[in-house]
């Protein structure tokens, strides 16, 4: 069962740079490994990640098989207003997951 871990500060001062940590559980199968019988295990990775802050995209990433399993991505943003962060992961085999976190900016 896919699940996300998000770390966003609950409160921040206006204008403060905050760090956002995200982790999505996913095997990130590279497509280069083989089974004991020599068959290639098909690729199954998350290909894209995006974060929106009150509806506006503030961060996006293209991921490749060289990203380790359970992609962990950390980035920063300026706390401008109270509201919601929405996170979205999209990948092979129709993988699509979302998560959200809220923040109070004073």
């Amino acid at each position: 069962m896919p699940s996300a871990l998000i770390n966003v500060p609950a409160k921040a001062k206006r204008g403060e740079i905050i760090e956002i940590k995200t982790l999505m559980s996913h095997i990130m199968e590279t497509g280069y490994r083989r089974t004991a019988t020599g068959e290639i295990i098909p690729r199954d990775i998350i290909t894209s990640f995006a974060c929106r802050y009150n509806g506006v995209e503030i961060f996006r990433a293209d991921l490749f098989p060289a990203i380790a399993a359970n992609p962990f991505i950390t980035f920063t943003t300026v706390a401008t207003e109270s509201g919601k962060f929405e996170f979205e992961w999209i990948g092979d085999r129709g993988f699509s997951e979302t998560a959200s976190a809220s923040i109070i900016v004073e």
Partner: protein, 155 residues
């Protein structure tokens, strides 16, 4: 499909033992420095890539190539007039030259991204930043890997 002749099969079996180890180093899919160069060209086009401004934090010696922590940061005021548009990370010897592309903007406040990557071999990692003025800046780091990623078999 043609069956291999007995002679071929015997020869095959005879070398299987030693070949098992060799097969790991003879993986057909391996990015070459040429692939690294062309992957970088795909991002920067014909622009000149300058050295500097970018910092790549990655351990110089890693035991397990399956998960290597990495942080890329770029010296930038991150104002609407002068900011980092994107950060691109490449490798030399994984099956594919790309590791990740990260798109940010002035709202990031700080041009810094961290993630965990896979390294199939000891190799060079290159990080390139695209600035809002269209210039490209890069840094590279060498990493020695003792246990490589993506070589193990799976049942």
């Amino acid at each position: 499909m043609d069956k291999p002749t007995d002679a071929t099969r015997r020869q095959f079996l005879a070398i299987t033992g030693s070949a098992a180890l060799l097969a790991v180093t003879l993986r057909p899919a391996e990015a070459t420095p040429a692939m690294l160069t062309s992957a970088i060209r795909n991002v920067v086009g014909s622009a000149v890539v300058q050295t500097g401004k970018v910092k790549l934090d990655i351990p110089p010696l890693v035991e397990n190539g399956n998960t290597v922590p990495m942080t890329v940061s770029v010296t930038s005021p991150m104002t609407p007039e002068d900011y980092v548009k994107s950060i691109h990370v490449f490798n030399e010897k994984n099956p594919q030259p790309n590791i990740g592309n990260f798109y940010l903007g002035p709202r990031a406040g700080r041009a810094q991204v961290s993630t965990r990557i896979r390294l199939a071999d000891s190799q060079k990692i290159v990080a390139i930043a695209r600035l809002s003025d269209g210039s490209f800046w890069s840094v590279s780091a060498d990493v020695i890997v003792t246990l490589a990623a993506c070589t193990e078999e799976v049942d």
